[in-house]
């Protein structure tokens, strides 16, 4: 779609390339969180922090190009929203990873958290597929539906997990708080990815 409308416009092309890069960073960070959960290797946490900083730079770059006049004014608010949501998701991945360093997960919890983290990563991959389709001018419906299905699956897993949480013994208040926050951050990632997909869908609609 953009390819057809703005192929000759440099600013628009830069914005789209940077948005894609932003999403790729989110995918890398999500994958690092999966690896961190799996191995407890602290280098993955460091990598996530590094990616988050890189994400901030990309976000600022996109905003400055948009400010210079890329895209028609009526689309810009949705594009800003999209970029902010991706950035918020990156922050959340970092927050979850930082907490993971301090909380101890029992085996069944570890398995569930691992599965949610994998689904989050797959969801981000689907968001990238949707973004590519959007740029190419293809239909987004099936990809957006797939993202919703992922979100529903994660929600189901969380509700099941939540009902068991109250029976899990914790050493002290902060351990309990850390554990609850970690799990809610993990689930919130999928909510934000779904919101991002909805904004993408909105931009797509407003251009059609």
């Amino acid at each position: 779609m953009f390819k057809r409308l703005f192929s000759s416009e440099k600013h628009e092309r830069v914005v789209l390339q940077e948005m894609r890069k932003h999403l790729e960073l989110l995918e890398r960070a999500s994958q690092c969180l999966v690896n961190f959960l799996k191995t407890s290797d602290r280098t993955f946490l460091d990598e996530i922090c590094e990616i988050e900083r890189e994400g901030d730079i990309v976000r600022r770059d996109i905003l400055s190009v948009l400010y210079k006049g890329a895209f028609l004014p009526y689309i810009r608010p949705s594009l800003y929203r999209f970029i902010e949501l991706v950035d918020e998701t990156l922050d959340l991945v970092e927050d979850a990873a930082r907490l993971l360093e301090f909380v101890s997960l029992s085996q069944p919890l570890q398995d569930d958290a691992f599965q949610i983290a994998i689904l989050n990563t797959e969801m981000v991959q689907m968001l990238i597929i949707a973004f590519d389709s959007f740029v190419e001018g293809d239909d987004l419906k099936e990809k957006i539906l797939a993202i919703r299905l992922y979100e529903k699956r994660i929600d189901d897993l969380y509700h099941d997990l939540f009902s068991r949480l109250f029976d899990i013994p914790v050493e002290n208040f902060w351990q309990g708080r850390g554990l609850a926050d970690f799990l809610s951050f993990l689930v919130k990632i999928s909510d934000l990815v779904e919101d991002t997909a909805d904004v993408l869908s909105l931009i797509h609609l407003s251009l059609s």
Partner: protein
């Protein structure tokens, strides 16, 4: 997609000698449509009772759910597959045996269940992915 990616881990069990009424209560409370059945005489034997069994074999026949035992209506053996099987294989089994759910086994234990809705979700996700790859 592999089975473990879209299976549900939450499985509710009921004893073969419990009544159908117990099963109805459990299904309503937990908002589920099937229960795995345990047979006290043998730990290897397992079955499944679904809302469909209850409606057609008990309520539809005018039988008293408080007097009917689960073992009288449960289906066995339980159909099991490995968690590394593909979604296509699950679909084949469901079509072949005309069943709506397949249990997932690992290390001799039941670790999950895959229902028709799970298969539908997984198929749609795979479709969205493959459509993109084919472009």
């Amino acid at each position: 997609m592999k089975v473990w990616e879209f299976m549900t881990k939450k499985i509710e069990w009921i004893g073969a000698d419990d009544t159908v009424y117990d099963a109805i209560e459990r299904m309503v409370n937990k908002r589920i449509r099937s229960l795995a059945v345990l047979y006290p005489e043998s730990s290897d034997q397992r079955g499944v009772v679904t809302a469909r069994d209850i409606v057609f074999k008990v309520l539809g026949e005018g039988k008293d759910p408080k007097k009917t035992k689960i073992r009288d209506i449960a289906c066995k053996p339980m159909v099991c597959i490995s968690k590394d099987e593909s979604i296509e294989r699950v679909l084949e089994i469901m079509k072949e045996l005309n069943i709506a759910r397949v249990f997932v086994c690992g290390d001799g234990e039941i670790v999950g269940v895959v229902a028709l809705m799970d298969v539908m979700y997984a198929t749609l996700i795979e479709r969205a992915r493959s459509n993109h790859n084919n472009v």
